[in-house]
Amino acid sequence: MSSNRQAAAVSPWRAPILFAILALLFVMEGTMRNAMFSGSWNTALGILNMGLISAITAMGVNMQWGYAGLFNVGVVGFLALGGLAPVLIALPPVEGAWSAGGSRLLIALAVGLGTLALAAQAWKRLSSGRGLAVTAILLAGFVLYRWLFDPAATAIEANNPARYGNLGGLGLPVLLSWAVGGLFAAAAAWAVGKVALGLRSDYLAIATLGIGEIIVAMLRNEDWLARGVKNVSSIPRPVPYEIDLQQNPDFVDFAGRWGFAAAEASGIWVKLCYMSLFLVVLLLVILLAELALKSPWGRMMRAIRDNETAAEAMGKDVTARHLQIFVIGSAVIGIAGAMMITLDGLMAPTGYNPLRYTFLIWVMVIVGGSGNNWGAALGAVLIWFLWIKAEVWGPALIGALTAPLPDGALKAHLLDSAAHMRFIAMGLLLLLVLRFAPRGLVPEK
């Protein structure tokens, strides 16, 4: 890996020019109405907002990969776990859910965690017969946990199942849930990292693949938590609602002065509010990451990445540092997950597709420039823009390519399958960049 990262002369104008091109793409999307662009600022800002969230996710992945060479294949799981936070923090409490079984459920979860901790301690402390003792502890803990948990979960799910059937939230401000989302993801990352780090490098990849699938399965099936596949909607917003803006005469007046109809202007205004919030978070993450990278800690991380053996010989605890960066990176991904659910206002666990939320993020990081925060952010927004626009451009391209073909089954099949071309295109892009420009669009300094 080290051979890919030697500093080569890169024009200092490269990043600003690329960012300018990106900005131009969004301006074109917002203003030009033709076969390529929608000409709607609402669409352009919608893409940009999701792009900014992808950029924060990519930042987390970039910390793990770019600073430490850790391959996290469970990004979707950490995103989903972060997305749980707005549901549990910002929603108002569900009437009757806590009295139905809330405290029993919390005790059950505590018993579950306590069992694991006790088993770990027993394994550490006991010298003889510890296998037997740990098995006994785990079995007893499991039975107790299920005895406490099952009736509680059933009772909560039976509480007004058509509307709720879940525990509800704490009714706290939704912005707080972003931080909590980060904490959730960090906790899960700590547990996985503790086991899988320090072994051969592929193991972390495989273990994170597993935890990702399990977290998504949990969100789909644990109805008491976030209603599972029945979805939780109307998650509170940190920004005004369109309908309120449209009824506010001052806002209508203000929109009129800019030449916009109230309906369109309210959508744009809301998206601009979200955009500012996301930009603040993104810039804060980049600032902190840049400061950390320039500190002695950052130099140590890069030293470990470039030569683990040498760093270890210098007395650095490689596994502990890897665990640290893995947890921090996952926390950033969790924050992005909470932001995404806040933006959508909807928790729909069926939407968490690993191809979209794990591997597309990886394409963003690799294309943008692993190890470089600005590169990862640029790659994320750019790839997200292309991914969305490929939905429009792909069929148009296939249509143009197949135009000379005679009408028939083959042509119809090709036209139908244009949507799948996106996957092939993204895979090829990843492979090409990995091979021919492994340092990405904006290389590490």
């Binding site: 490098s201 193991y203 399990i214 191809l355 996957f423 092939i424 090829l428 990843l430 990995l434």
Partner: protein, 335 residues
């Protein structure tokens, strides 16, 4: 106590499905472990290689069915299988030439190869979607059952029925044949010995005049065959849906790691271990408890874990092995 009925129920709901599933996992894990042994990286594209091979086989099966060619009681897919294997082998050889060889020559870190395999996974996933779409496809034909529930009841007079699907029996038989052929090849032929030598010690193998590119090509062809066979058997037994083949990646990796990456025997043992644990832990034991302890009436279904969490079983097995024996039960590679 009704031991006979209990045994039949266990056979019907646990042993037979788990044996078939275990055989499919074992074939998949063999492919992963061979790639790991020779090329030294975990191939994330293996699930999608299986899906691609199966998709091609399904297309040929449909063509054969349309032409009225069949195998009588056996599924037509068996006739189509060689075509699927050939197509998949060509695809993976092209992939190796275009993608992996560059990093091999460079001696890049294994994690870069893993990353490249993710790119390959994306492309293969898109290819499969392009070829056959994202929907579920049924392609099993021929006789459905070797033994069905009713004739078993009439034959034995037991209350509990037992069904053995043709695809389940076929899976186990074909897997046994394939494994026998693979071990014969690895242990008895010159090419097989070259592969094992290369896996054990690359430098020594090079010094002995083994052509590494030939070994790598052979490995890819074998891995593609194993993947296609495993994929087709899985598709016949359950149903073909491209996304399932991505999800099966985790149990397959768990099986390969449990057995020890790079160790073929371990992959087979790991496949069956993962499959039996998965089925046994997600099966509701209420019925069997009813036979064994008639007086006892438990509240729940006696199911340790819901079927929706079956992947958690592979994950827990994986974690336990990583914690206590990171090289696997059968001592795989440690690098």
């Amino acid at each position: 106590m009704d031991i006979l009925n209990a045994i039949v129920a266990i056979l019907n709901f646990v042993v037979i499905p788990a044996a078939a599933y275990g055989a499919q996992l074992a074939l998949g894990a063999l492919g992963v472990t061979l790639i790991y042994g020779i090329l030294r990286f975990s191939n994330f594209a293996h699930g999608d290689t299986m899906a691609f091979g199966t998709a091609i086989t399904i297309l040929v099966t449909w063509a054969l069915q349309a032409a009225g060619i069949g195998l009588g009681p056996l599924p037509t897919a068996l006739l189509a299988l060689p075509v699927g294997i050939a197509a998949t082998a060509v695809l993976v050889l092209l992939t190796d030439r275009a993608v992996y060889r560059f990093y091999r020559v460079q001696k890049a870190a294994p994690i870069i190869l893993v990353m490249a395999s993710v790119g390959v996974m994306f492309v293969m996933n898109g290819l499969t979607r392009l070829v056959i779409g994202v929907n579920e496809q049924q392609f099993a034909d021929g006789a459905r059952f070797v033994i069905d529930v009713r004739s078993f009841r009439e034959m034995t007079g037991l209350a509990e029925g037992l069904a053995l699907k043709t695809t389940q029996l076929l899976t186990v038989v074909i897997a046994a044949l394939v494994v026998w052929a693979l071990f014969w090849f690895l242990n008895r032929t010159k090419s097989g010995k070259a592969m094992r030598a290369y896996s054990d010690n690359e430098d020594l193998a090079l010094l002995s005049g083994i052509d590494p590119e030939k070994v790598v090509r052979l490995t890819w062809i074998i891995a593609a065959s194993l993947a296609t066979i495993a994929g087709v058997l899985y598709g016949l037994d359950k149903a073909f849906r491209p996304f399932n083949y991505f999800q099966i990646l985790l149990p397959i990796f768990a099986a390969a790691i449990v057995g020890g990456l790079g160790n073929p025997l371990g992959a087979i043992a790991g496949g069956f271990l993962v499959a039996f644990s998965e089925v046994a832990i997600t099966y509701p034991w209420l019925k069997i408890a009813g036979y064994l302890a008639p007086g006892w009436q438990p509240e729940g279904l006696l199911q340790l874990l819901g079927t929706e969490y079956k992947f958690a079983v592979s994950f827990v097995i994986l974690i336990v092995v990583l914690l206590f024996r990171p090289t696997g039960l059968f001592r795989g590679k440690s690098v």
